[in-house]
Symmetry: C2
DNA sequence: TTGAGTGCAAAACATTTGCACTGAT
DNA sequence: ATCAGTGCAAATGTTTTGCACTCAA
């Protein structure tokens, strides 16, 4: 894999970002550094970086995909009030085998867990 | 809410389906019964039925949304080999509080859990 | 030097919407 | 009779792709 200016800039944007960005947000941010980059290149690189495990691709079922510069395993909280997607530390790792009976013939290799509720700010503002 | 021919047919297709269908698959199936139904009507009704809790809308991050005629809470297994989405019985219920620390200010109201791996048929065929 | 990567523009795909008409109540 | 629901077609928004060109190795 070649290290291009575009690829470096995309990775940098994601690593520096506080929130988890959409492809379009990445595009906008990277343009500050590489003005002539195209949206197609952004998509291509996000796909490649995710496949290589350098970033994470998060599909949430609400709006477009988002990308997370943190490749470590962690879970997300989707705020029902403001729509943001933020990291959530887990008390203990999630073990699929606790929940699924392996004798039924299928094979469980992994699991995607996404919490939803209220983020810190919205919980405070709505006085919950 | 009115009980139209279209709405009844859509619900019936989803309740009879073994797998969890995309809007397009529902459209194709319903056309056998209501040939002049439009895709827009299918989408509108799927949205309404899901909001009313009669069906479930499942966004999986791979391909288009899928719809589940079973409104009860249960989890799904996405087969990495053939792409189907099927129901998975759980040994015990999933309790978010076991995993997430409630003292951090946010509020967890629910969780979406999706397993991935191999469905029965693919597990058997690939000899795992 | 050379082919992986790029920019551009068009295409593909899923979903939503405006509008005049229809049919369930 | 009324208006929620429908069919149609166009619009929207996201993501992918073909192709000629560029530049990292």
């Amino acid at each position: 894999m070649r290290v291009t200016r575009q690829r470096k800039a995309i990775l940098q944007v994601l690593r520096r970002a506080h929130a988890h960005l959409t492809a379009d947000e990445v595009y906008a941010a990277v343009r500050a550094e590489v003005p002539r980059i195209s949206l197609g290149t952004v998509y291509r690189n996000l796909e490649i970086l995710a496949t290589m495990g350098l970033i994470q691709k998060i599909t949430t079922g609400l709006g477009p995909m988002r990308f997370d510069g943190n490749p470590e395993r962690h879970v997300h909280l989707r705020c029902e009030r403001c729509g943001t997607l933020e990291d959530l530390p887990m008390k203990k790792p999630f073990n699929p085998q606790e929940y699924v009976d392996p004798s039924l013939g299928h094979v469980v290799r992994g699991v995607v867990v996404e919490f939803h509720g209220l983020c810190r700010r919205c919980a405070a503002e709505s006085g919950v």
